[in-house]
């Protein structure tokens, strides 16, 4: 968790998260047409690790090696000038041509929809994907834009002062999902 976070509930433990990812991996395979070119795109930072895990699960179960790209949307955000903190750009690296490919865009939490909007713009600047699916571990509601996820781990109605923290062991101390209250959220 972040400093100042007050944990209100644990939404998933490590096992729940793993099962959720298993189910999402199944759904990716189900919605993909046989032979259709597909790609995973993980959004910085935790979406990247989730995308890699989905890739590993699909390769282990189906022998399909879906390429994984990394996307940072800082350059495409609409609140660039209003935010008080100086922005940090993270790596964007999509190692395949997105044109004509069905993309699975992976993020940890879907909230206002603004990050997903920025990600769509970023992807369109790279080419013309044949389609984009949005995958999230948690849809916490409170959308500000007409955007929805196609594959959702879990829907959790939340309040504006709350935050959903998805934690992955690659960069955090453990796996799991928590609902927290954050003083400045």
């Amino acid at each position: 968790m972040e400093p100042e976070d007050i944990v209100k509930a644990q939404l998933m433990d490590a096992r729940d998260l793993d099962r959720t990812l298993d189910r999402m991996a199944r759904q990716i395979v189900e919605v993909s047409e046989p032979g259709e070119p597909v790609g995973l795109v993980g959004m910085q930072t935790r979406g990247v690790h989730i995308a890699r895990r989905l890739h590993d699960k699909i390769r282990a179960a189906d022998g399909i090696d879906i390429p994984v790209g990394v996307l940072d949307v800082t350059m495409y955000r609409d609140d660039f000038r209003n935010r008080l903190k100086q922005p940090t750009v993270r790596t964007t690296h999509v190692p395949y041509d997105v044109s004509g490919r069905r993309l699975f865009l992976v993020d940890d939490v879907l909230y206002t929809g603004r990050t997903a909007r920025a990600a769509l713009d970023a992807l369109m600047d790279m080419g013309r994907p044949s389609g984009v699916y949005l995958l999230v571990i948690v849809d916490r509601g409170l959308r500000e834009l007409p955007i929805r996820a196609d594959i959702v781990g879990r829907e959790v109605p939340t309040l504006p002062g709350e935050e959903v923290r998805v934690r992955v062991s690659e960069i955090d101390d453990r796996d799991g999902v928590w609902l927290v209250e954050h003083p400045r959220a």
Binding site: R81, K85, Q86
Partner: protein
């Protein structure tokens, strides 16, 4: 994320670095983490430049004015391109044919610009300190694009970016700056930037073109002076040749260009003797003076990489300085 973690301290850190500067007036006083943060950001923008659509909407709605009181082609074009690649609105102002030739002072020019609601001012001026002065008259972010013989910070940053492409860790690397140190803002910005990053800097040139006591310009770090080219190149990783600015030399400070080339020009024999030496030059090159023609075209001359990196570095600087404040 292998590319993020393998290049040591000059790449993006997990903990975001907040720049302690609102303007970029010079590299003096910029810390190693701050410079590393700009370089890491510039690498991401360089990737944008190689995509099919070489433009991002990041600075949409931001207005930048390029105030060039002094002739410049590549720096002005580089800034303009950086601004356009970030989708900023740009206005160009060049001294000739403007109100300056009608006798307007810098302060009045600045205040007029302010009245037009400009967010960022990029300024080149013949007087050292002009960008600094501007920060006191306008509310906009000020970026120094070269002020007299003082500093040219984005050149220093793009040179550092080019060096880190070959040497990810700059600390302990030996960099020689060769030529007219006295009149060179590029030399000063590089001196500050390189020593902040921990490089060992050698300044080399004729005694008439190196100010006495220049080693004392930096508070800490390794700077030495030599008047012999071989001493500067022996064991050196990167040689940065400076342009002999014929237009700036008021009086004769060395006998002739031919003699300068023979004593301080980098020639093929040097590239043959120093097998790993990289050669840089801020441009435009006087072929046959600072560098022999075949050296300019040699694969170990990275002059065009510097030009490409210039656009990326300027994008990074514009991005970091115009989005959010350090105080919050």
């Amino acid at each position: 994320m292998s590319s993020e973690s393998t290049q040591g301290t000059t790449t993006l850190q997990d903990a975001p670095v907040i720049l302690g500067h609102r303007h970029l007036l010079g590299l003096r006083g910029w810390s190693r983490p701050e410079i590393a943060h700009v370089l890491a950001t510039a690498r991401e923008f360089r990737d944008v430049l190689s995509r099919p659509i070489r433009r991002v909407p990041t600075l949409r709605g931001v207005t930048v004015v390029n105030l060039f009181f002094e002739a410049s082609t590549r720096t002005r074009i580089s800034f303009e391109l950086a601004e356009k690649r970030l989708s900023a609105d740009t206005v160009n102002f060049t001294a000739s044919g403007s109100s300056v030739s009608k006798g307007e002072t810098l302060k009045d020019t600045a205040r007029n610009i302010e009245a037009m609601k400009i967010d960022v001012v990029v300024i080149r001026h013949a007087s050292p300190g002009a960008p600094h002065f501007l920060t006191r008259c306008v509310d906009a972010v000020v970026i120094n694009a070269g002020d007299g013989a003082h500093e040219h910070p984005t050149q220093g940053l793009l040179d550092l970016l080019t060096i880190t492409d070959h040497f990810p860790e700059v600390r302990g690397r030996r960099i020689s700056i060769i030529g007219d140190i006295t009149h060179s803002r590029v030399a000063r910005s590089n001196l500050y930037g390189l020593t902040a990053m921990g490089a060992e800097v050698t300044l080399c040139g004729p005694p008439t073109l190196i100010p006495p006591g220049i080693e004392g310009l930096v508070e800490s770090g390794s700077v030495r002076v030599t008047h012999r080219l071989d001493e500067a190149l022996d064991g050196c990783d990167v040689a940065m040749a400076l342009r002999i600015q014929l237009e700036r030399l008021g009086r004769q400070l060395f006998p002739s260009l031919r003699e300068y080339h023979e004593r301080f020009g980098i020639r093929m024999e040097h590239l043959e003797r120093y097998k790993d030496l990289l050669v840089m030059h801020p441009g435009p090159v006087n072929r046959g003076v600072e560098l022999a023609g075949d050296v300019v075209d040699h694969e170990r001359a990275v002059i065009l990489d510097q030009v490409t990196n210039g656009v990326a570095v300027r994008m990074a600087v514009l991005f970091l300085l115009s989005g959010g404040t350090a105080e919050a």
